[in-house]
Symmetry: C2
Subunit: 211 residues, 2 copies
Amino acid sequence: MSEISRYGASGRPPAGRIGIGLELDDIHLKILEVLRENGRISVAALAERVGISRANAYTRFEALRADGAIKGFTAEIDHVRAGLGITALIFVTVRQQMWKQFRAELARMPEVEYCAITTGQHDAMIQVRVADVAEVHAMVTDRLANIPAVKATETVFILDEVLKRPYVLPGDRDRDRPARRAAQETSGEVPLGKMRFVGAAEGRAALQKDG
Amino acid sequence: MSEISRYGASGRPPAGRIGIGLELDDIHLKILEVLRENGRISVAALAERVGISRANAYTRFEALRADGAIKGFTAEIDHVRAGLGITALIFVTVRQQMWKQFRAELARMPEVEYCAITTGQHDAMIQVRVADVAEVHAMVTDRLANIPAVKATETVFILDEVLKRPYVLPGDRDRDRPARRAAQETSGEVPLGKMRFVGAAEGRAALQKDG
DNA sequence: GTTGAAATTAGTACGAA
DNA sequence: TTCGTACTAATTTCAAC
């Protein structure tokens, strides 16, 4: 089970350390930036690239891991080479009060790479990777449709993955668009009222992950 | 620029090696499985966990990288800790014949973690990570709406990420649901799509495994 | 927080099965 | 191909500054 599902919506432990465990400074972010591109870099080389001493790099590296800012390390693979060349998104409408069952069933679906609860017309989005289109059909009709918690589904295929970054960092913006930050800071207004949200489904205010 | 956008829809180089560069056997998949959970594991420890010699592990590890099956290594981070606690999906309708412009603009948006071209009602799905909801608004209205290629957008927020696996592997299914493979093998019908991807090659690999 | 040296570990090369 | 081993290079740890 992933840390995400274990900790719920916030991605943080539910209690005990609600506050910020580790205040990330620019050097921490720089470390995360280097590790994003090369997760197997040695701490010694990391220290050099960040511009700090080895011991400092070890301390910060361990702190980031212990704090949970770094949850782990993994490889990035070519799905086609691995034999799973078909990617699909399945938007699911979940029957209220049956979220717990829905989550339990999800854990038994190894072809699911990502699942998020969303606002809007549907309640959840599932991303699956399979070998052929027939398996998508099997997933939706045989597996998902048989879950009582699933009220309806809508499937779309992914034709091309244009962009896939391991993760985004706050510093990325400043590097790509230095002018924007200054403009935003002087705007002074939070234009929430003009947002065009997609209307949340009825009863979504009571959404609980264990409901 | 990512390999994905460089190579287009298939994720493979456009020419020269259309065929499968490296036939992945069970040991290759086992290596990918271990690296998925611990991308920083030493090759020596990897060899032990997979059950092969160190020399063999180095050979296969390097082959997987050279072949492109492994595209790289990265960290997994806690987005909230990194200061980007808001995740949103923006579904975009793109004006035909303007895909090139759309892709070019995407490259200039550092807060975009993922973008895929999809079938269905919309043409693309963008996932963004930002610090607050106001930034989502800024992204949609200031950035996306000003791109001529963008005809319309629809935004939903991600309330919870239930599941997030680095990647899915073909072997995951057999481990989670051993009954399915047997049922498929005795069904008598071969899904058409499957023949295109593995076909006779799978049989050869199976024979080699026993020898 | 930094530097430098010792101990450990990783990576390479090569011969044999 | 794969394995085992020896050799070389690098990293991590630990101590003193």
